[in-house]
Symmetry: C2
Subunit: 354 residues, 2 copies
Amino acid sequence: MTTSITLPSACDFHLHLRQGDMMRMVTPKVEEGGVSLAYIMPNLQPPIKNTEQALAYKSELEALAPNVTFYMTLYLSPELTVEEVRKASKAGIAGVKSYPRGVTTNSDNGIENYEIYYPIFEAMEKEGLVLNLHGEIPSDAQKDICVMNAEERFLPELKKIATAFPNLKIVLEHATSKAAIDMVKSLGDNVGCSITVHHLQLIVDDWAGQAHHFCKPVAKFPHDRDAIRDAVKSGHPRFFLGTDSAPHPIATKEGPRSNAGVFTTPLVLPYLCKIFEEIECLDKLENFACHFGRNFYGLSQKAGFVDNKVTLVKEANVAVPQHYEISTTNADLGVVVPFYANKDIGWKIVSNFV
Amino acid sequence: MTTSITLPSACDFHLHLRQGDMMRMVTPKVEEGGVSLAYIMPNLQPPIKNTEQALAYKSELEALAPNVTFYMTLYLSPELTVEEVRKASKAGIAGVKSYPRGVTTNSDNGIENYEIYYPIFEAMEKEGLVLNLHGEIPSDAQKDICVMNAEERFLPELKKIATAFPNLKIVLEHATSKAAIDMVKSLGDNVGCSITVHHLQLIVDDWAGQAHHFCKPVAKFPHDRDAIRDAVKSGHPRFFLGTDSAPHPIATKEGPRSNAGVFTTPLVLPYLCKIFEEIECLDKLENFACHFGRNFYGLSQKAGFVDNKVTLVKEANVAVPQHYEISTTNADLGVVVPFYANKDIGWKIVSNFV
């Protein structure tokens, strides 16, 4: 039985760090979770749509987590120009993120029409920027589209873009379905796929009546979870960690309506040790969490930084905190409940970034 | 445009009225919703397993709602004997309800084995008692069974029982899937199907992150809702109203875990007018809500009671209450949030039980 693991600090290729007080609470926890390279989503309020905004946000994050290498993204919208893509690339911005709602006004009959973005994709391909796709189409009862098949229905669009731009690196974010796993496998080496901590563990039953397991895309059937786990267990190099960790104040999770998102940042590597142990592939953890994503993206630590080591040990009674206070000075801001709050996850980090 | 409807007071063939303070709050609301005949589920704590318990509960309900005719059911469990079935029948008890969890200890490889109950079913067939089936099998990830397909996976069992006992009246309760609708249609006249208010209206998207829409069986795909609506629109006589109205204190709905259940009792007919108007079959409402269920069951009002009339009118700004207080004297017991709280449902009862 494996009781201790040492691996390089991990890379999280899909992370939400928010703004203001929430950002100040969450960002230092990236390192606590054993992560030293983080790929940051642009869906702030307002969204990050240009290089200046991205660099300003990056400075804020670096001040809060000086040991972490941050890679920034822009929010895909009709405002994005070819010139801005070139500028972003020169400034070290790594990718452009597409959200389904962000393109709704440019849709054709409810199906997202990515063709209006082809000049942008061409520029990204030339500049080496990565296209990050939230792979769902909006629910539409008339077409039998709902949260359970919104990802599967998106996949033809992924295939179309990947075929039209064979040298554009594309990541299907937070895959949740067997259909998505199969599609990514079937496509070329320009297509990767991020997998969250929680989607390795949850199915639809787990968010039915459990607010803190509700996220988008929703967790699906057992056979979908099996396919996600199998992709990881097989050691396929185009499937890698992107947690989609998304903190929300408890008041916006527990109530008549619940925001979508699961918070995993403070304990990324302990959660993964628990899960990989349960699905019997601890030997695949290092590649999944530390190497495959960086290899796909071709990214490395920031100048002057080298990869350090994290050591975890298996231990009885490693309880996940009940919650994290958003502010130590203003209790009114509430708390964030992490994934598996109060549960024993059986692994903890004993030395970090050594 | 129809702006006024007069129909007989309705029959609710699947109702939870609880115990104690909750019972005292909910039971008088049966009449408020335009319902005069109610078929009561036995899942109390402890469950109603014999005739004495059922009759005692019936007396409590009658004292709270003297204008309503109550039909009682027993909870199917290994304790139920053929003698008790005969006794129940003589006492006017109308049916026996099977819950999936109630048979878990008598399961064979996780599939419910109803054959141990065949002597009971035979006695029920002879005595004219109805078998009410909660048609789901327990989730089992290894068999890819989850809340989204638990009903469909149960259907072969329904077919097996219906075929083995062609003269036993069986009701598949609260159908939520096209597969269930198709199965009931394909079976003989001994098989009926209750349909709730909320399953006529909800799909999986509606309970994703919305605690007050979470119920079991869960609402499913748009094509499943279409099939339920089509059964009603077609005027098929074996599909009838059973609300499964299930009140829960708000504290057990809004929180990290949410109890399953939607509360519709106080406004059953107004909700139905809204929905039947939207799906353009107001002409089918009376049979669905007043006649088809009674015809299937062969039940009538209690001695000395005749069917009275309910009149509803279409009106702007008919808001559903935000909540109902469980007790007028003890605020600590909290409130129950009804279906479509605070929303305009556009119809109200203007004369009731006239």
